[in-house]
């Protein structure tokens, strides 16, 4: 049954591909290469290397290596900073009174606008790119963590008070687990934002990586290469989201089940 249902959901993908193939072949536009040509070019660019390297070409290493490293470094940094600051602000009404206006101001600034500023400030492109990513994606993590920390059930907190939990116990055993569902929602949103900001940062302050490859392909009229980059970015976003959901399902099993039964 599940297989049939999965097939039932997925049929639109091949149909779209076939329609696209037929349409692009008929149109013969250089801007719109047929998907078969794009796929062939992707294989050529990234997957025609030696078996010892899992078929990955040198170009694949150059394109994906730096991009994925920046993506994960930026996301991890934003996660640590956002969750730590969010818990501190969520636990302290005074701190949040001071910082709330600043947070909403900072959140409203479009991060791509800050790339030139970060470049001028940090000179090297990688720190500037990382700063752009962190600055762009920290907001959903921060705001969700604050919200999650503030809305811990009163009775959970009173139970902790009655049984005299230490501050560390209250934080690690009560507040953080209770806020975890909201923190994870923020982290997931941040992950998809990180991919967007990564490409923007690489286009604007680039030296290597997928965004840079995309830009050079477009500038040198290599439209099939450009489409290859677009497709691989889409796939990457999909894979990252799926992997994250898988992890979330394991970590937050209690939350899903508790909601189903009550």
């Amino acid at each position: 049954m599940n297989v049939i249902r999965a097939v039932g959901r997925l049929w639109l993908v091949p149909v779209t591909l076939v329609v696209w193939e037929v349409a692009t072949r008929a149109a013969e536009q250089p801007f719109f290469p047929p998907p078969s040509a794009t796929l062939a070019r992707m294989g050529e660019m990234w997957l025609s290397g030696p078996p010892a390297h899992l078929l990955l070409t040198e170009q694949a290493m150059d394109d994906f290596g730096p991009s994925l490293a920046r993506l994960f470094a930026g996301w991890a940094l934003a996660a640590v900073l956002g969750v730590a600051a969010g818990i501190a602000i969520g636990c302290s009404p005074r701190l949040s009174g001071y910082l709330d206006p600043l947070i909403h101001l900072g959140r409203a600034v479009p991060p791509p606008l800050l790339v030139p500023f970060f470049l001028a400030l940090l000179k090297l492109s990688t720190p500037a790119q990382l700063t752009t990513i962190v600055f762009g994606i920290i907001w959903p993590i921060l705001l969700n963590t604050i919200d999650g920390t503030r809305t811990v059930d009163r009775q959970h907190l009173e139970t902790a008070r009655i049984f005299g939990f230490s501050t560390a116990q209250r934080l690690t055993r009560v507040i953080v687990p209770a806020a975890m569902p909201k923190i994870f929602a923020g982290l997931r949103l941040a992950l998809s934002l990180a991919l967007i900001l990564l490409i923007i940062a690489e286009i604007l302050a680039g030296s290597g990586g997928l965004g840079y490859r995309l830009l050079t392909a477009q500038r040198t009229y290599l439209y099939t290469d450009m489409w290859g980059c677009l497709v691989v970015l889409g796939l990457l976003g999909y894979l990252l989201n799926s992997a994250f959901l898988l992890m979330e399902r394991r970590v937050l099993a209690w939350h899903r089940n508790a909601r189903q039964t009550t």
């Binding site: 059930d153 009775q155 009173e158 139970t159 939990f165 230490s166 687990p177 939350h255 089940n257 508790a258």
Partner: protein
Amino acid sequence: MLEITDLVHSYGSHRVLDGVSIRAAEGELVCVVGPSGCGKSTLLRSVAGLIRPTGGRVLIGGQPVDRIPDNLAVVFQDYSRSLYPWMTAANNVALPLRRRGLDRRRRREAATAALDQVGLADAADKYPWEMSGGMQQRVSIARALAYRPSLLLMDEPFGSVDAQTREDLEDLVLRVCAHHGMTTLLITHDIDESVYVGDRVVVLTRSPARVAADLPVGLGDSRDQIATRQLDAFVRLRAEVGRLVRGGSSTSTVLEKH
């Protein structure tokens, strides 16, 4: 053991407790019964140190309650919000025991023993959401037992479970409180329950709450869900408490059914 003297509490200009005085001797199980919304929970929260009452005094073992005492445990009505859903039953029971200076293994042993006492020896590794309401409330009681408090507070502990489970839990509480010699203050709106479980029944008036009567139960230590409820003494006392809760005076001779 527990001395509540002239307790007064107001939320803003709204007076909830109006000079409530209750005493409980060591090992005594005192039921506080009163109409819904009369301030029973406010009373319990004052005793627990969760709120600071506007006036009056609470002494536990001679010590004034100015913050949350370390020899006190609470069983709340809403078990689903009192147990931590991200922890197993055993971990829920064991977590407060860190304060008692027990190492990991001893905490686990104490938790297992307490779960065994409430008849949940097999459920140690279950999560709250894998259990029925009655089982969750048992875990809550086990957590209080393992903590070894000298005063146990229960806020409508059987208010959210079905009738059969309620009877089982009443007997469980009677058994474990007697076994540990714990002083217990049980708050309920259920007249029948207050007489069945209590050594004494304190009846509160409608808000603002005052003590309408303080009645010894005198049904002896062993109680039975069927036999005890048929005793003349039980029926008379239940009627008496019922009249008081409805605002009558204790000398009234009109019998009311409920």
